[in-house]
Symmetry: C2
Subunit: 601 residues, 2 copies
């Protein structure tokens, strides 16, 4: 069987940065060509970044994307790379649809282009549009209805057929995968922008394997890398044969070129002619065939990758931690910041947040503020100072008591304790964080975890004030797990564990009132997190939750807390998503929600 | 031709309040029956409220909605109202669809039920799902594919046929309207949850008239009333004949029963049999016919409405003002607050916000805080005090200078002026607002207008801190217009104009630095607002904006300001939407957006 060398360029695009993303296509095609690749695959919407959201509806942006795609094709050719077939995602539009109610303005397409010989020789667009979880694609795109099959000449009269599908086209039944089988393509290349979720790598491997079988083709799955707003893309590109053999698996969370040879059947065409065929999903898809001219290829100048096309896999905690680091690094960088600032209390949440930040952008770019009050324990201050020393980050102390007293003096009859007094302290700290952020141009990181955010155990405009929340989607029990794991990781490497053991082991407290403990207001975190997972992520109702073994009184209380905390969560800054629902765009319970499930008692 | 008395109950539902909404159905059916109505129409999703968002995906909520619908039917019958045909929106599900990727969990339906004789005798569901602007219905619903046609006996062997479509089914071509013509129904009733937008009433009238002609039927359009989160529903129910005669028009922004007699053709049926027919939109819709039994009707005990079925219309500014008042009133009420608090500066934004609040919930429930600093002018304090006296609201003064100084003492090397120093003052005010809110259980209103929010001319966690922003979607030039209008309205009624003339006429200033004016940082508001409208609402690109006559340098500057301000807007509280795009769910430019349009120079 003919042999085709392909390269999957799993890279980090930036939304809106057409120039920078185009530069990456040229640079990494050059690298792929140096290693002998004839077909190079880039991720979904790579030239625009993903997700572009409302930019898709702006005509000038769509035109700029189309122009950038043609310019990249020309530039590749001008640099002697025109003989390589480059498949990349970009934003296109359907010119034949008249405006009507319900149609996204300008009929934008989540498209892929084949660049060859200095031209855009074929285009297609995503057929299945996801509109669940973090996806809103019915708002932004119209579906594609074609399957391009391009024939790649290999010399000596040999050639192979390559078809293109895009991301969601794998997740739903029928469509391009079904038509690929009819078209008889030997290779199905699939650009993706598939966000990380914990454990999703296993789901994806099963899916890709199943679809390769259904397509009757080798399937090459190339995914984005890096953080974009709340999403983190984990790369983890995959190549699988129709019989289920995994030929390659890219690294997680790192930019990389996955190069390999795939054995493919010679090009013959399937049983379907050109023209519309049944896509087995209630629609028709048109097969569009073309043959690429046999252009000269650049010289092969680079050697093999030492580990071949298989990178080591991360275990569960390493994977989550890598997602948080990648999400934080890219949020800081893509928003034009160089440094971050955060409140360091001595507790575990801010300790882990500081550690993630130091791993993401270097300890020299991390600034922390210790803001003790009369309720701060001696141990908290010591633990915070210990962390500053361990990691070599910048520490500064700003006591808050005099400021709190100044507020109290002007407010006159303000209560001395209770929630208003606790919130006041937290908000004074928020103002100090923001003041130092404004003066020093640091991005403020919030330190709230998912258990707190879910139940509303935080102060609006206090600890929730900031630009990015690295552990927003991490339950408290996982905060502890990750902290222990990070220390163990350092120990294995012979380095100083970054987090003081005392921060991990002591009982959690907001320290906003004398002797306060989280457990005064909240159930034990192991119970709470299990319940939150079932209620928030699995959408169980109260009867189901009780049947699943949760304490009925706790179910009632937690449902109330979670529903009432929705407004606070809406004003919380973004953070890396590591679970399907989280509290971001995947969960939009109305702010005013009078519905309460029947009380279990 | 037979005569049918119908009633359109344009009412204010609350999302999630199944019990309260059901109570409204019973109460207003009773009133309609007392006036002789045989068919009573309630708005879309009335039993659950609209929009339910993620509640649609919670199985226990869907079941509760279905149960509530059956209970209402039984209750109507038990109260002697079983002979009246009641059509109401509710949340249902399709039981026949297996779970699959892309299908909303549980296959929820935006449904309508016919309640008669104590039972749910027919159901249908919205066929066209909107997924643009404020709508995300592909996320929450599956489309309906039936058209129920119920025959209402009128005695003496006479009967009329009534079909049901839902809201978006009018806005898109084909579907239930097309099938209604084939089915030969004489009356098409349409429950709606159509949010207010400025000028949308004229668009709706044209639409309803056109669809009545296409359906070949009298069209009765019943819309929700009141605020729900960011949406405001304006009522304005309409009845139009197939020949375009407007038979009724309900009031705007008020709960009301619109009762009228409509002449309808006797029931004969159209050319389409039961079963699937071509819906002229690429789908098929099944006509489902049933005949209601001739049950006894309750006695008619109430008289005609004095003004007949036509209510006076509001002019443009009255309409916008009414939307802001309704949105504010319902947000306060539906979130369980009784009172509001806001910062009163003496400027026009906070003056108008206080006035809207006083009109919404009564001056006795409005608390304002004057927070002068060393930069506050004498005039500002006087103007604020003048407004407090004119309106009889609660005023209190909390000077901020000592608190600002306390921050500066602890922050040491903090800059004495510039943005960080300005923001600090604004954030001190934000903390005071929130402290008083926490202590007194008032909802904090923010006072930012749309021109400021668009350009980022506000302080995160400062003036942007709060629970609801009544003028969030109102450009500055419209703030002035509405203020003048409100004063004129008072004068016409012989009342004291609520807003000090000086607040309207003086040059706007944030008063965060000596002698500061808005025009130091921003262009003149008439220029700015015109440009913002074209850029934000009309999505024009820079070339188009310049071609439309905007100053090229201003275009470049404002595009940059608007794009950079996205993060601040995301953390701004909700406010009543009066325009199609606003900056809420209808505009989701990514937070990190490296794309800038080509510079015009």
């Amino acid at each position: 069987m003919p042999n085709l060398r392909i390269a999957l360029a799993q890279l980090n695009a930036t939304v809106g940065d057409l120039t920078g993303n185009a530069e990456l296509v040229v640079e990494w095609t050059r690298r792929a060509a140096a290693r002998g690749a004839r077909v190079v695959l880039f991720p979904e919407m790579f030239l625009t970044g993903y997700p572009v959201e409302d930019l898709a509806l702006r005509a000038s942006f769509v035109e700029a994307s189309i122009a950038a795609t043609h310019e990249v094709a020309q530039r590749l050719d001008a640099e002697g790379l025109g003989g390589v077939a480059v498949v990349t995602g970009y934003l296109d539009r359907r010119p034949d649809l008249a405006p009507r109610t319900g149609l996204p303005a300008g009929a934008p397409l989540d498209a892929a282009a084949v660049l060859h010989g200095g031209r855009v020789v074929a285009t297609s667009a995503k057929h299945h549009l996801p509109n669940y979880g973090v996806f809103d694609e019915y708002r932004y795109f119209v579906p594609g209805n074609s399957l391009p099959v391009f024939r790649v000449p290999l010399g000596d009269g040999e050639a192979v057929d390559v078809a293109i599908a895009i991301c969601e086209d794998l997740w739903q039944d029928g469509g391009p995968v079904a038509v690929c089988l009819r078209a008889g393509a030997g290779l199905l290349v699939v650009p993706n922008a598939s966000p990380y979720e914990r454990g999703k790598d296993d789901v994806r491997l099963e899916l890709v394997t199943r679809r390769a079988r259904e397509a009757g083709a080798v399937l090459a799955y190339c995914n984005l890398v890096g953080g974009q707003d709340e999403l983190v893309f984990d790369g983890d590109s995959i190549v699988v044969t129709a019989s289920g053999e995994v030929l390659a698996r890219g690294p997680q969370f790192e930019e990389e070129l996955v190069v390999l040879d795939v054995e493919l059947p010679g090009a013959e065409g399937g049983d379907a002619p050109d023209g519309p065929v049944d896509a087995e999903d209630g629609t028709e898809i048109t097969i569009e065939r073309l043959t690429l001219p046999d252009l000269p290829l650049p010289a092969v100048t680079a050697g093999e990758d030492e580990h071949g096309p298989f990178w080591p896999r991360l275990d569960d905690r390493a994977e989550v931690y890598a997602a948080l680091v990648a999400g934080t690094r890219d949020y800081v960088r893509k928003n034009g910041f160089r440094s971050v600032i955060l409140a360091l209390s001595g507790g575990i949440d801010s300790a882990l947040t500081a550690t993630i930040a130091a791993d993401a952008i270097g300890p020299e770019n991390v600034y922390v503020v210790l803001m003790p009050s009369r309720y701060s324990s001696e141990g908290s201050v010591t633990d915070a100072e210990d962390l500053v020393k361990r990691q070599g980050i910048h520490g500064r102390t700003v006591p808050i008591q005099a400021i709190v007293d100044a507020f109290r003096d002007e407010l006159g009859d303000f209560p001395a304790d209770g929630l208003p007094a606790e919130n006041l302290q937290s908000r004074v700290r928020g103002v100090i964080n923001m003041a130092l952020s404004n003066a020093g141009n640091h991005l403020v990181l919030t330190t709230g975890n998912k258990s707190e955010l879910a139940t509303g155990y935080s102060t609006l405009y206090g600890d929730s004030a900031g630009g990015f929340g690295p552990i927003k989607d991490v339950f408290k029990t996982l905060v502890w797990d990750l902290s222990r794991w990070r220390n163990e990781y350092a120990e294995r490497a012979g380095a100083t564990p970054p987090i003081p053991v005392n921060s991990i082991e002591k009982a959690p407290s907001a320290e906003l009132a004398p002797g306060q403990l989280d457990t005064d207001s909240l159930p034990a975190y192991d119970e709470l997190d299990a319940l939150l997972d079932d209620y928030v992520e699995k959408d169980m109702g109260s009867a189901e939750l009780i049947a699943a073994g949760h304490d009925p009184a706790l179910v009632e209380r937690v449902i109330r807390l979670v529903d009432l905390a929705e407004f606070k969560r809406r004003q919380y800054p973004p953070g890396p998503k590591i679970s399907p629902k989280n509290f971001g765009r995947g969960r939009r319970v109305p702010i005013t929600n009078a519905w309460r499930e029947p009380s279990p008692r």
